[in-house]
């Protein structure tokens, strides 16, 4: 669910429809910038008895408010909570059983790259992080140093690191003159109005010998096959010539006789 940044308007979330036998429901609500949001839970009951139900709203396990509501004619119980902060909000309905629904309010998540990026010693590489739908205010790059995360300072080492921010929702870290030490993980952090989120990209550094071995193996296979095919061709040609010589001699004898006999 996405909420547009409009002020002084209460945006209604899609209500969760619950009934007492249902399992706990959860939903991620992505909040891009501050907004007032109304979260709704709706409880349905098949039974016609007008029982009272306890409704509790919690934020991160702290109770915000609690009340008792009775079923109306349409057998629904509505409850709405108005919020404007990040966190995990839960609505709990209790009669004899308990049923709840949780809204996880969070900033947009950044996805890094699952597989590591491969590069070679002496080469350069570009690490990319994207935030597709939401535009962050700024990006910060970190690299892992043992178990810490150290900020990548591109102004201090301009001939090693360059950060390209041509588009606001894509950030590219270019690492030049790669060495074996650059084989580590990098994090791109996107800063939003309501918080930050990180994506991970890891770099793997190889030497030129690594792809050279399969290449030499294939080249050797090609040379061997070509040699075998040419040897077989020479062998079968010799066989043909041998058979052809015998045949040729025979047919020439026949033709000579034919010429002699023709007028």
């Amino acid at each position: 669910m996405l909420f547009q940044p409009v002020e002084n308007v209460y945006l209604q979330s899609e209500p969760f429809w619950l009934w007492f036998s249902s399992a706990p429901v959860e939903e991620n609500v992505i909040l891009y910038s501050p907004a007032n949001i109304a979260l709704s839970c709706n409880l349905t009951s098949p039974s016609t008895d007008s029982a009272t139900v306890n409704v509790t709203w919690k934020k991160d396990n702290e109770t915000l408010r609690s009340s008792s509501v009775t079923f109306n004619e349409t057998k629904h119980v509505w409850s709405t909570q108005y919020i404007n902060q990040m966190g995990n909000y839960t609505c709990v309905f209790k009669r004899d059983q308990e049923v709840k629904a949780t809204f996880h309010l969070q900033v947009p998540q950044i996805e890094g790259k699952e597989h590591h990026v491969v590069s070679y010693v002496g080469d350069s590489v570009v690490l990319v992080c994207k935030s597709i739908k939401y535009i962050p205010i700024s990006w910060i790059w970190y690299m892992s140093n043992g178990s810490d995360q150290v900020a990548v300072n591109d102004s201090l080492m301009p001939d090693k690191y360059t950060v390209d921010e041509k588009y606001a929702n894509i950030t590219k870290l270019k690492i030049l003159k790669i060495s074996e030490e650059d084989d580590r993980s990098y994090w791109c952090q996107a800063v939003f109005k309501l918080g930050e989120s990180k994506g991970k990209v890891s770099l793997k550094v190889l030497t030129y010998m690594t792809p050279l071995k399969p290449f030499l193996a294939i080249a050797a296979e090609v040379i061997i096959l070509v040699a075998i095919i040419f040897l077989y061709e020479m062998y079968s040609k010799k066989k043909q010539m041998h058979a052809g010589t015998l045949q040729g001699e025979g047919s020439n004898v026949l033709k000579q006789n034919a010429l002699i006999m023709a007028p």
Binding site: E233, T245, S251
Partner: protein, 486 residues
């Protein structure tokens, strides 16, 4: 008694070593067409590394395709005058060198040259000679042999695409290009397989006749009469070579061939953008990445099925006479599919499209060499194929960028797909009208001869002549012989 250096065969073997030739041609198609299609997988990497946009990177593919087709006549020329084996091995070394050089690229222009021009040239030296070789070894099972040989592009794309993706993930694009260069070296193996064969109907190879010391005088005279290069056999000088080369391209003036050439231009214009724009179009209508990749795989696999089944079908005796019609039917169906494409806006509707388009794409690709052979004959097949593939070059180069420009200006894929659809349908209707016109002309001539009782000569195939009415008597043979010697 001197032993004969080469043994003349009266008809193509239709088997035996021919099947090894088919295997060789199959590998050549994998190493050339499939590798060219897989180059687009590198584009995302090139864009990120060189910080360029999609349009500039896409030129690599266009240049490679164009160079492969543009230099196809050069490939036929080298294989005709040196040897098929030498030509293909040279092409393999060149293409491999191009790919290896690309792995050390420092700029996009470097890639235009090494991956575009050099590799494209290398592929050109391999592609049409290999296909012509298959035509020489097969007669009755020609279309089936071609079907199996050309199915390499579909199977190759299907297998190579995930393999190339894996190589890029393991070794990055530099390592992947190096290993791909090694893979393309296998073209040398294919070249070694292409043992030369000479057929008696091959009038355009005078050196072979000189070596036939055991051929009787009478036979030699006959062959000399019907050979177009006969006055020049004695003087095997440099002039003779040039004149013979011009005689090799005699088929260019045949009206049948000219019609085929124009239709090939329009067909090549229509068929190339689909492979470039199907995935972006699918993504734009809401299909996911995996489903779009699956559409391309379907295209590749059904391509193979179309290759082999259509090849087998058109080899059946009942359909053999109608190969031309099958070809134009396949091209027309592809054009029709294009016209429906803008209406298909969801994945369940795009799947049958992929099936149909892929099947008929495989079908007509198999029939191109067969139809060309039917028009020009086996003797000039190598050169004719060179010219036919040469005509693919310019449309392959300009069609994707034009389609991309249309997409950018009209903000939808409809205009470009409809243009391609009409282009292919025009190609098909042109062939249809040409065939109809020929039939009408023939029936007119037949009615004329019946009225006036004169003997007409109608040339087919450029090398052999048939008389329409009456039996061929001695006088007619002399007339034909003198016409041939002109």
């Amino acid at each position: 008694m001197a032993a004969p250096k080469k043994i003349l065969l009266s008809s193509p073997p239709d088997g035996g070593w021919g099947w090894m030739i088919v295997v060789g041609c199959f590998l050549v198609t994998i190493c050339t067409r499939a590798v060219t299609r897989c180059i687009s997988i590198f584009f995302v990497e090139f864009q990120t590394y060189f910080a360029q946009d999609y349009a500039r990177t896409a030129w690599i593919h266009s240049i490679a395709d164009c160079a492969t087709m543009l230099c196809a006549p050069l490939g036929s020329f080298i294989s005709n005058h040196l040897s098929c084996q030498v030509g293909i091995m040279l092409g393999g070394l060149l293409a491999s060198a191009g790919l290896i050089l690309s792995s050390f690229a420092t700029s996009l222009e470097h890639l235009y040259f090494s991956l575009g021009v050099l590799t494209g040239l290398g592929f050109a030296l391999c592609y049409s000679p290999a296909i012509a070789m298959v035509g020489k070894y097969f007669n009755k099972k020609k279309a089936l042999a071609y079907g199996i040989a050309m199915s390499g592009s579909g199977i190759g794309t299907f297998i190579l695409a995930p393999v190339v993706q894996l190589l890029i993930e393991q070794f990055s694009w530099r390592g992947a290009l190096l290993i791909l260069g090694g893979f393309v070296l296998n073209l040398c193996v294919c070249g070694a397989l292409m043992r030369p064969i000479t057929l008696k109907e091959d009038h355009k190879h005078p050196p072979e006749f000189l070596e036939q010391e055991y051929v009787s005088e009478a036979q030699k005279q006959d062959l000399k009469q019907l050979s177009i290069c006969s006055p020049l056999i004695k003087a095997w000088s440099h002039e003779g070579l040039c004149c013979c080369s011009w005689q090799e391209y005699n088929f260019l003036l045949m009206p049948d061939f000219m019609v085929l050439a124009v239709s090939v231009l329009f067909m090549a214009y229509g068929c190339s953008p689909l492979f470039v724009y199907l995935v972006p179009y699918a993504l734009s209508v809401g299909v996911s990445h995996q489903q779009a990749a699956f559409l391309m795989s379907i295209l590749g696999v059904i391509d193979i099925v179309g290759n082999i089944t259509f090849g087998w079908l058109t080899d059946r005796r009942c359909l053999k006479k109608y190969r031309y019609i099958c070809y134009l039917f396949a091209v027309g169906m592809d054009g029709l599919c294009y016209l429906f494409l803008p209406v298909l806006q969801s994945f369940p509707m795009l799947v049958p499209f992929s099936f149909t388009f892929g099947y008929f794409d495989g079908a007509y690709v198999t029939l191109i060499p067969v139809v060309t052979a039917d028009v020009v004959g086996t003797a000039s097949l190598s050169s004719a194929l060179g010219v036919v593939y040469f005509l693919h070059a310019l449309p392959y180069l300009v069609s994707p960028p034009i389609a991309g420009w249309l997409v950018d200006t009209t903000r939808s894929y409809t205009a470009s797909f409809i243009l391609c659809g009409f282009s292919m349908m025009f190609s098909s209707t042109l062939l249809c009208f040409a065939r109809l016109a020929k039939k009408i002309k023939r029936t007119q001539l037949r009615s004329l001869t019946r009225d006036t009782d004169t003997k007409q000569q109608i040339w087919t195939n450029g090398a052999t002549a048939y008389s329409v009415s009456g039996d061929l008597d001695q006088k007619d043979v002399e007339i034909l012989a003198t016409e041939a010697n002109r």
